[in-house]
């Protein structure tokens, strides 16, 4: 009876992890396919599709666009999120809780709606579809996240550190850069990497707001339109690999923090 239960639990766990990881494993496995179709039987391993992907100028420029977009939009989102959190934590603003709720509201709105809204606004304002437009979209979706994470870490002792710094002669800029930012560094770092991963993976907004120069997820979608191909597997595996690295970095920061 006991062993039966154990087997059941193990099977359940296996099913869950299988459900989550099997598609990824299949994706990665068939990216190593030697023949031209990503379907069994497995004929690899071969790196020819990676070679094809890495020498594809369109894909590589999309990859470059994605990296730059993720980095810059996250930097802007973190900066704005930090300043908003700092402002809310330091000053008694009228209707503070309503304003905070409004800032975090985009977290609950679907990317499709945000993308459509931005598309209409940009259209009306005469902003052409571009990477800049997509970048602004990514700031819109990531700023609430950065704000929420950083604001949650701004407790009373934060106020006391800043007060102590002022007492010891620090100007407001020095208080900000020598005390507030370093003390909140783990939260800032975490929200930056979380934004990076979201922006890196984001499709809908990038699809709606870019035209000629576009991001990697949009370019992959373009590839997929002409049917499955081990090249899509290879580029998919690369995207997955980058996400994993960012997730690990994030984990490392949090682990280091809990150990301290």
């Amino acid at each position: 009876m006991k062993t039966a239960g154990k087997i059941l639990v193990s099977a359940y766990a296996l099913a869950i992890y299988g459900f989550i990881f099997l598609p990824v494993i299949v994706l990665v496995l068939f990216s190593l396919q030697a023949s031209s179709f990503p379907i069994p039987p497995f004929t690899g391993p071969s790196l020819r599709w990676y070679e094809a992907v890495l020498s594809d100028r369109r894909l590589m420029s999309a990859l470059f666009n994605s990296v730059v977009l993720a980095g810059l939009s996250s930097a802007v989102a973190v900066t704005l999120g930090f300043l908003a959190a700092w402002g809310f934590a330091r000053y008694h603003l009228p209707r503070s809780s309503l304003m905070r709720a409004l800032i975090t509201l985009p977290l609950t709105v679907s990317y499709l709606i945000i993308g459509m809204g931005l598309l209409i606004v940009f259209n009306w304002a005469g902003v052409p579809k571009s990477l800049l437009a997509a970048g602004i979209g990514h700031v819109v979706i990531n700023l609430p996240l950065c704000f929420a994470i950083i604001y949650s870490q701004m407790g009373d002792n934060q106020v006391n550190f800043e007060r102590a710094a002022r007492d010891l002669g620090a100007s407001e800029w020095k208080v900000l850069f020598l005390v507030s930012v370093p003390v909140l560094w783990p939260a800032i770092f975490a929200s930056f990497f979380l934004s990076m991963t979201f922006s890196w993976d984001e499709f809908v907004i990038a699809f709606l707001l870019t035209r000629f120069d576009t991001t990697l997820p949009v370019e992959i979608w373009n590839l997929l339109r002409s049917g499955l191909n081990p090249r899509t597997n290879a580029i998919g595996s690369l995207v997955f690999g980058v996400s994993i690295v960012m997730a690990l970095l994030l984990e490392l920061v949090f682990l280091r923090r809990t150990r301290r």
Binding site: N157, F161, R163, A164, D167, L168, G169, S171, L178
Partner: protein, 363 residues
Amino acid sequence: MTGTLPGQSLSGPLVEIRKLSHSFGGHKALNEVSLTVEPGSYTVLLGPSGSGKTTLLSIIGGFVHPNEGSVFIRGNDFTRAPPARRPTATVFQDYALFPHLTVGNNVGFGLRMRGVPRAARASKVRDALAMVGLADAIHKRPHQLSGGQRQRVALARALVVEPAVLLLDEPLGALDLKLRRQMQDELKALQKRVGTAFIHVTHDQEEAMALADHCVVMSDGRIEDQGPAERVYSRPASRFSATFMGESTLISGKILDLGMDEIRVDTQVGPLSLAGAGEPGFDVSLAIRPEHITLVPESGSVSLGEAVVTDVVFQGSFKRVLAVSTRDPDVTFIAKLRSSYGVAIGDKVELYATPADMVLLSR
């Protein structure tokens, strides 16, 4: 950044506070408070929570700008100056050590803000840490230190910038009783050694008595009493001061008539004569410290009437006895009796005190 200008007199008070008033919302936290602090003195602001002592300290430190009144330090008006431009430094209640910096960099922070070069900074930091007995903690992080050690780092960090006044906001509040008494002695010794004026906020009257050269008793946004701790204890100026700084038995009464240099007061426990001045018909109170109430008459003592013992607490060298007057049940006597006295709850006793030990209070 010391506030001294060439040619400025150093003979006046170090800190002069003139008629400070401040309100938070509708609550009047300070009401026309005036205070002077002499160079090299240890001033303690004593009062219960909500008495305005912390507000007063925050105003001296520049964290709160008062509605009315002014703060002069070394003769210069600092009322509206931000904390960074004041010759003050603060030891905060929770120490507020920067968690991302080492102990050494914490202590060196103020010097760095003042543009002191690295080499000079390092040697001053070492000296400051040595002064508080933490020379070998220089490379540690604040979270690796005990509460008492953090407290010392906070002291070193504030003293290293050589402030004209050091402000301490309930600095011992977070420590356990034993450590508190030990740090209290260290604080006093440190203050005598460095010679900087300290202004220390506390609600602990024992701490106040042990530390203060000048004790300021505050209540409800006002200064109730101020002076040397011994004077404030032995001759309190108000009913509040008599009961907050140590305990007292309070007996109210009305002045009957005046003698040569004594007055007769009709009290709740009968007429008593004592030295003092006043107008006949005035309402007054008599305060008597517990150690001045006895069970047996001594030379010069007078009877306070009969009382019923309601509580006896053995406290080692003495017994703390509460007794309610049979003449007026509103009067509760508090007495510290030698432990050898055999008194028990319910006993009827006659209590005595010497008129010279009674303090006449008009408020």
